[in-house]
């Protein structure tokens, strides 16, 4: 297994390309030379389904592939277990290349390593819920008793205990998809491939299923590749998100990375409607390395100088171990200077709001009411100051106004 950022890579996709049509070789050669999709279609009547996709999926993460219909996301997930045959490129599962597997090996991979959940459930209408949940195990040839035991357990995990003897037709869409999920879980494979698994469900049921999946994932720690066309779902479920367009990967990253730093106009357009308050964290918003006062080194005169240089009237203070203590205000420091005192100790305001870097905008907004300190972002362990989040930047993030617009609004408000 290869290591990357201390995380185990479970699936690695390299330059995966899939072309639909008869003259694949010709189309592939054109693609290599940099021809566009349209040119290739015109000349060879081949469609490029996936264009040189590369990514890694880490063990235990929910990896969401997001795109609109026709973006190639469903084709991509089907390349992972070769329900669609890639035209070129490699798909590594752990260390072996799935694209080079023979029939028997491929069957083994499908039976033991990767289980799939489908948008349209794909249940067998003539079999009971229990038999459906045990179907993957039945295909493997496990004895009836054993597979039913595992299937019962999987059904219990998805909350379908007591429905074992029903037929799928007697169940709602949400429940049918639970059976689909149970079937995949019963196989106990390390990787779950979920193809628009919740897209066919009603909004409320969908939200339920998402929560349930997250709960199950907390317990089981599977590696999940999840396909969706819904960015909200991607953000809710995904540890990392891939955004695809026309068979090309536009961006890979965490929800926050994609929202704060969209790689293209397409991605940006996508992210516009998302509720950012719950995603953007202090980590992104804070000013790093703010001007600091050191309790031991800096006296009142030094504090006044520092404040004047950057024209502020409040500064954070830390001790010799670089632990954040609180803020001092200019007016207090001036009094100290008048009295010719040497230490800032007496005027440090310690009852100030501090947050950790994972706090979201939503969680920070209430903290700025009733006082006018910037929020101090401190490290969870060392309590060192990492940065500060100003009220203005919080408001800008929450309202999505530009800095200039905020200024204008304030000026207007003052005129009233």
């Amino acid at each position: 297994m290869t290591e990357n950022n201390d995380r185990t890579v479970k699936i690695k996709v390299e330059d995966l390309t899939l072309i639909f049509g008869k003259r694949k070789k010709e189309a592939l050669a054109m693609l290599e030379k940099g021809a566009s999709k349209e040119e290739i279609l015109k000349k060879t009547k081949c469609t490029v389904g996936i264009n040189k996709a590369s990514f890694e999926v880490y063990e235990g993460e929910v990896f969401v592939v997001m795109g609109l219909s026709g973006s190639g996301k469903s084709t991509l997930i089907r390349c992972l277990n070769r329900l669609n045959e890639p035209t070129s490129g490699k798909v590594f599962f752990k260390d072996h290349d799935i694209t080079r597997e023979g029939n028997k090996e491929l069957m083994k991979t499908r039976r033991y390593e990767m289980s799939m959940v489908f948008q349209k459930f794909g249940l067998l209408p003539h079999k009971t819920i229990l038999e459906n949940a045990a179907f993957g195990l039945e295909l493997r040839g496990e004895p009836k008793e054993e597979r039913e035991k595992k299937a019962r357990q999987a059904l219990e995990t998805v909350g379908l205990k007591g429905y074992e003897e029903q037929l799928p037709s007697a169940m709602s869409g949400g429940m049918q998809q639970r059976v689909g999920l149970a079937r995949a879980l019963a196989n106990d494979s390390e990787v779950l491939l979920m193809d628009e698994a919740f897209s066919a469900l009603d909004p409320l049921i969908k939200a339920d299923m998402q929560d349930e999946l997250l709960q199950i994932q907390e317990k089981l720690q599977k590696t999940i590749v999840f396909i969706t066309h819904d960015l909200d779902e991607a953000i809710k479920l995904g540890d990392r998100i891939v955004i695809m367009k026309d068979g090309v990967i536009e961006q890979i990253g965490t929800a926050e990375e994609i929202l704060t730093n969209p790689a293209s106009d397409y991605v940006e357009a996508f992210t516009e409607k998302v509720d950012r308050k719950t995603i953007i964290t202090a980590e992104t918003l804070m000013f790093r390395k703010p001007t600091l006062l050191h309790l031991k080194k800096d006296g009142p005169m030094q504090a006044i100088r520092k404040m004047r240089t950057i024209s502020v009237d409040v500064l954070p203070v830390e001790d010799e171990k670089r632990v954040f203590l609180g803020y001092v205000w200019l007016k207090d420091v001036l009094k100290l200077a008048d009295r010719k005192e040497n230490s800032l100790q007496s005027v440090i305001r310690t009852e100030v709001p501090s947050v950790y870097s994972h706090y979201t905008v939503e969680e920070m907004l209430p903290l700025i009411s009733n006082h006018n300190y910037p929020l101090a972002v401190v490290d969870e362990e060392s309590k060192r100051l990492l940065g500060i989040v100003t009220q203005t930047s919080l408001i800008i993030e929450a309202t999505r106004f530009e800095r200039e617009e905020v200024k204008e609004l304030i000026e207007k408000a003052n005129d009233i």
Binding site: Y112, F121, L124, L139
Partner: protein, 287 residues
């Protein structure tokens, strides 16, 4: 106009060659079919009429009701067909055509059996293989549109007169729906279920036996029903080459211009047809 192409002559020559070179095959088929027909016929005739009546009535009732056999709703569902069986069989028996009806049933059963043995695998093949489908389809069209009488000529040629040529002609005539509906049923299995099978590592055989055939079963059973009805519709034509049963009585009626005989035996065929149809149809619908 003068004939330029003598296609019929080539067909005749071909059939002659087949007859001469494979005579062992024809006689083996003839022996096999005759043996089966005779024994099945004896077996069915060996059952006393009352017992037979009870058995079929029960079968009809059960086919209609299924698991609700002993429930009140079951009575409502099954009573109609059950009483029709009783009245119909009594009528045939009392008109004196019981033995002929059994002959006819035997021929239909044997022909249906052979047609299914050949037709269902062909249907599976044509559903799963494009090339096979392209070959099979036009042959089926040919078999269905060619007037059924035409099959009698080579059938006599290979098997002389008797039950066998009748059954062979019946099989050819009734085979197409078995192939077509099996193929249709398998093609209509939702692709997401088949895909799920593949995703979980099913072999081609597992896909066929665990997914496609079970899901196609209602359509295949409709095919079985069609085969039986087509086989029944052939009994009169088959009697022209010596097949026994109600069909031969109808044929006698035609030759002797005997309205009474013709009507009675014709009615017998209709009764058999309705009973066989309703029973097989309700089995198909149950699935």
């Amino acid at each position: 106009m003068e004939r330029v192409i003598n296609l019929g002559k080539y067909i005749e020559q071909g059939i002659n060659a087949l007859e001469e070179n494979f005579s062992f095959l024809w006689s083996a088929i003839d022996d096999g079919i005759s043996w089966t027909v005779d024994h099945l016929n004896d077996l069915l005739l060996g059952i006393p009429f009352v017992l037979f009546l009870l058995l079929i009535t029960f079968l009809a009732y059960y086919a209609k009701t299924g698991s609700k056999l002993f429930k009140k709703e079951g009575l409502k569902m099954g009573l109609g067909l059950a009483s029709f069986v009783v009245v119909g069989f009594l009528l045939i028996y009392l008109m004196g055509y019981w033995e002929d009806a059994i002959h006819t049933t035997t021929l239909v059963l044997v022909a249906t059996f052979i047609a299914l043995i050949l037709g269902i695998p062909l249907g599976i093949l044509s559903a799963r293989n494009r090339t096979a489908d392209m070959v099979i389809r036009p042959i089926l069209d040919f078999m269905q549109t060619m007037p059924a009488f035409v099959y009698l000529i080579p059938a006599i040629f290979f098997f002389s007169v008797g039950n066998t040529p009748g059954i062979i002609a019946t099989v050819i005539f009734s085979l197409p729906p078995a192939v077509r509906l099996t193929s249709l049923g398998i093609r209509n299995v939702p692709s997401d279920v088949v895909e799920a099978g593949h995703a979980f590592g099913a072999t081609e055989n597992q896909i066929l036996y665990k997914i496609q055939l079970p899901l196609a079963m209602p359509t295949i059973l409709t095919g079985v029903n069609q085969v039986i009805l087509l086989a029944l519709s052939m009994v009169v034509i088959a009697s022209m080459v010596g097949a026994r049963g109600l069909g031969s009585i109808v044929y006698q009626g035609i030759q002797q211009n005997d309205i009474a005989k013709g009507f009675e035996s014709g009615l017998g065929i209709v009764i058999l047809a309705i009973i066989l149809d309703r029973i097989t149809q309700s089995i198909a619908n149950k699935k």
